[in-house]
Amino acid sequence: MDAATLLAQLTVFLLAVVIGFELIARVPSLLHTPLMSATNAIHGIVLVGAIVAIGSPGSLLTQILAFVAVFFGAVNIVGGFLVTNRMLDMFKAQGGGSKGKR
């Protein structure tokens, strides 16, 4: 890995951290559990890494380990998004805003 690539990656990393802080700080505590569950699903993105790993030349050992990673990643993504959806359905069902106390 050359220095330019590393620098570009570090830049992206830091900017994403800043955006993350900005985004999350404004989510009301009412929605913290669905938020956490949604971000939980998003780190299932590691499935992308697992697919790259299993799809690259390797040995039987790397294939088996990467297969487990693919399985884990898929559990993480599908479970995470579905369970978040279930929770948010309950918030939606109420229609909201009927009293407008705030």
């Binding site: 994403a16 993350g20 009412l30 992308v48 069902a93």
Partner: protein, 467 residues
């Protein structure tokens, strides 16, 4: 193809950001979740075109389908009260996947010679293995504790800190050897030992943490898995992994800090065993203090004739007793009588950040009736009756006294400022922190309804309806 995939990753990353942005408001949160899910689908499909060994496609298919099935079934079946352990479980598999990806990359480079080795890649791999494994093992322990299968409560043993330090040091030394390019021990051996030690470290870090501190552990492990995913992005030079991983890392970090300040304790103190210090019971004087014990009909008549404004304070005990619907029902009855009804939600009322809000939403309590600590505390002064169900530490006025008890400095709901406080509680037993609540013994202000949360609330409802 390379360019198309990179562009797809860019779109996916943008969709994640927009998706989280939409979680600011309950009205758009659901669309936000769908947005992120679309981004995820795009990223995964684009990756399939990057697969070099086409023979591995069937294996990918099997893994994805099986994983999706397991994920979908557990997501459908889980109870809302069990949400923290569900999140812990998904978190653990994510961390495990990140650690495995990093390990596979190291094995390919170091043993098979199929990938380039560099100091940076090695560092990212080691961090990925370390953080991912800690998250995996820690999440499993957290799951066990929350599900009350194993390792429940706070488990401490002598020399715990020393053991943790030795394990961490061993990881550091071995990692240093790998990065320095030492050939003895063989790098793959060192890395395998690091993997094992990191798993052990994950277990060691979480076992001493008790029930009330669970929200912090869950958020922290979430941040860890995000970071581990970002590290595998560095290893594979994959921007969508770096971006998404760091987004999650940032979110977990914020929530962790928020939770630890809600408990009034520094994060370091919780992680590194302040727990043990709070365990000694110095208040065991055996003196019988009297309380004003009342029946459901007394509470009903208070609410009926003597209270225009009522605030409910639900705690985790409410969820344990499955009494959310009973509380919602009582609130509805009171609102029907023209009373002003609100719910006060302490940040650590559940077992993860915002958990109680979800539980009440499930019981059809309108979410604009749910108030944060900051918003509700000034309202208690002008409130006639507060009904505390299954909560104790978060309404304990002794938290305001400096350095006196385990909960000193923890922000609390000022229920003692209201005219009357009703506790629905099975007994006088203190909460998780083990600190007695002086409010129980204030016979002027406090009514104690000794009952199971669900039965108690239902009895109040029926005696209001019958009057």
């Amino acid at each position: 193809m390379q360019i198309a995939t990179t562009l797809a990753y860019l779109v996916a990353a943008l969709l994640f950001i927009v998706g989280i942005r939409r979680m600011r408001d309950p009205a758009t949160a659901r669309i936000g979740n769908v947005t992120s899910a679309i981004g995820m689908t795009i990223a995964v499909v684009a990756t399939l075109f990057q697969v070099e060994e086409l023979l591995s496609l069937p294996a990918i298919g099997v893994g994805v389908v099986a994983g999706s099935a397991v994920g979908a079934i557990s997501a459908r079946r889980v109870q809302m009260t069990a949400m923290p352990q569900m999140v812990a479980a998904f978190n653990g598999v994510g961390g495990g996947a990140a650690a495995l990806v990093a390990f596979v990359e190291f094995y390919r480079a170091s043993v098979l010679g199929l990938a380039e080795e560099s100091v940076v890649a090695d560092l990212a791999i080691l961090l990925g293995i370390l953080i991912g494994s800690v998250s995996f093992a820690g999440s499993i322990v957290a799951f066990g504790k929350l599900q009350e299968i194993f390792l429940t409560g706070s488990i401490a043993f002598p020399g715990q800190k020393a053991v943790n330090a030795i394990v961490a040091l061993a990881i550091l030394v071995l990692g240093g050897l790998v990065i320095a390019g030492a050939s003895v021990p063989e790098p793959i051996v060192s890395v395998s030992i690091i993997l094992a030690l990191s798993l052990a470290l994950g277990v060691l870090l979480v076992i001493p943490i008790g029930g009330a501190d669970m929200p912090i552990v869950i958020s922290l492990l979430n941040a860890f898995t995000g970071l581990a995913a970002a590290m595998s992005g560095f290893v594979l030079s994959n921007y969508v992994l770096i971006i998404s991983g760091s987004l999650v890392g940032a979110s977990g970090t914020i929530l962790t800090r928020l939770m630890s300040s809600s408990l009034g304790r520094p994060l370091g103190g919780i992680i590194f065993g302040a727990v043990a210090a709070a365990s000694e019971d110095e208040d065991d004087d055996g003196e019988e203090k009297s309380t004003r014990s009342v029946g459901a009909e007394d509470v009903a008549s208070l609410l009926n004739y003597d209270a225009e404004s009522v605030i409910f304070v639900p705690g985790y005990g409410l969820a344990v007793a499955q009494a959310q619907s009973a509380m919602a029902e009582l609130a509805k009855v009171l609102e029907g009588k023209g009373k002003d009804v609100r719910f006060a939600i302490h940040p650590v009322a559940g077992r993860m950040p915002g958990h109680m809000n979800v539980l009440l939403a499930e019981a059809d309590v309108p979410y604009d009736n749910l108030y944060d600590l900051e918003d509700i505390n000034e309202v208690f002064d002008e409130t006639d009756a507060v009904i505390v169900v299954g909560a104790n530490d978060v309404v304990n006025p002794s938290a305001r006294e400096e350095g006196k008890s385990a909960i000193s400095g923890m922000p609390i709901l000022d229920v003692d400022h209201a005219r009357t406080v009703v506790f629905v509680k099975r007994s006088l037993s203190p909460g998780f922190a083990g600190v007695d609540n002086p409010l129980f013994y204030d016979e002027e202000k406090t009514m104690m309804l000794f009952s199971d949360a669900k039965t108690g609330l239902e009895e109040i409802v029926s005696s209001i309806k019958n009057s």
